[in-house]
Symmetry: C2
Subunit: 333 residues, 2 copies
Amino acid sequence: MKLYNVAILGATGEVGREMMKVLTERNFPVAELRLLASARSAGKKMTYMGKELTVEEATEDSFKGMDIVLGAASADLARAFAPAIVKAGAVFVDNSSAFRMNPEVPLVVPEINGDDVKLNKGIISNPNCSTIITLMAVKAIHKLSPIQKLVASTYQAVSGAGAGGPIELAAQNKAIVEGGEIECKVFPYQIAENLIPHIGSFLDDGYTTEEMKMQNEGRKILHQDTLKVTCTCVRVPVVRSHSISVSVYTERDLTVEEVKAAVAKEEGCLLVDDPASKKYPMPKDTSDQDIVFVGRIRKDLAFENGITLWCSGDQVRKGAATNAVQSAQLLVK
Amino acid sequence: MKLYNVAILGATGEVGREMMKVLTERNFPVAELRLLASARSAGKKMTYMGKELTVEEATEDSFKGMDIVLGAASADLARAFAPAIVKAGAVFVDNSSAFRMNPEVPLVVPEINGDDVKLNKGIISNPNCSTIITLMAVKAIHKLSPIQKLVASTYQAVSGAGAGGPIELAAQNKAIVEGGEIECKVFPYQIAENLIPHIGSFLDDGYTTEEMKMQNEGRKILHQDTLKVTCTCVRVPVVRSHSISVSVYTERDLTVEEVKAAVAKEEGCLLVDDPASKKYPMPKDTSDQDIVFVGRIRKDLAFENGITLWCSGDQVRKGAATNAVQSAQLLVK
């Protein structure tokens, strides 16, 4: 079996650490694993497959000899290091938003448009986490009849804001239980026992950058330029796993039965839809795994040709780390 | 000034206690206040306007001499006591779901269809809490152009399940912080750091009774029989105030500017919509008051003639107690 030299750029963050875990779980054919991070994290020790590795500072010279670089850093760092990665002859599978809408860069959810990895010119982009989870949940529907429109409201976990999110939620919960001061550093307002309808930056039309990703990235992933999406993104006091309430409008009218049957057979999805037994997707159940749970499937009552559903998936795994490793697996297959 | 004898049926519950507070705040012209509850609560002392009152067991004889009975009990109890209340000559302003869809009973949000109280034959119904808050947020739009359809996803606080909801959330949060057992009595699953897409009972078509209220009650309140609503109701770990992400589709196309201007002038609403200054509705800010906060107003991107917005309101107050007292105020005006 051919082995590959793999680097993780941003190895010490939430997604970087998860990438290391997913590489192990999936028994990725790794020759050397190189852990790269900022100067601040250089020297840290991390364990991979029982071996202790030392985190190195990422520099332009860090990528020589690498076959694959998994990007778990910011968009700015991704942009800064991409030329050096490509020049070194590695393929950069980047989780940041830096290259997602670049027409030269495939934007891949392996179960949906895995073939697009072949079009890469050195960079493959990982989509936004809510977009991945929503599209995973509706892809069975898209195969039955092309999706025309989506109306989505997200319920996004604090870990979507990085490793600091869960720490801030835990500290605020502790302050509420024990009667201390509430501190807000990661989120603009208290998130414990609150909801913040603000993820990303606001655009002139009132949408956030995060909300527009579902339409912009959805079009590219589904190869459907006319897809129209209205999305409202909300941060909720959940540690891990994003959930989405979404109405899906298709070209032809679908029955609930055929949608349920299609979701049940779909790769990467689990149909959790038995209301009588109180079975429906919940973030508590989907955390720390790769499967997107799909349930509450019913006919939309507002518009024709609509199906309304609810889904939950771990955005650090399928929404980020796992999706990137899956793209890397397609590269080496 | 004429004074009225008022009873609260279910005075010791979350909504009943809030009704007493709202009567005080609004300086309702009360002659006698009679606090009624189950045998279990009889004998409890509660304070109203500085006077100590004793809770009495509700029986068929409890309503003699009363002018208004505010109902904060279950639908079953409302149905059981309604004949005695009407026979005693009182008007029953009931917060339960018992009579909402009864064609003989007006279903009233005072700021929307206050005139309907005049049609009462002894019973006035208070709508569902999420329905009240959503309709309060969109009524300015309805006045600009009749609403045809709504696609709504709710983020409902634990206090919507009664006084036990916040106690259960607090106990679960404490268990998470201190490392104890998570107990679930009020909710079917852990609600702390989780989301439960299940409020009410499931119907054959996959919707819950709670989800259907927005369409069924919305039609009656707005006097719009053709209104179509798709709603997904989700319990979130927030103590108080429900929030709703809603897309509103009207007969004619509206601009964001005219909608914002209309909401800003609307009774019972506060326009909180200045993204550049991070101003948007949040449940933390709307709790313990009567105003529904409306923000994130923007053009819907999926369908024509659509406006998408986000709103938050205290469901124990405007969603229940305040709305009932407001109906009573219209009765005595």
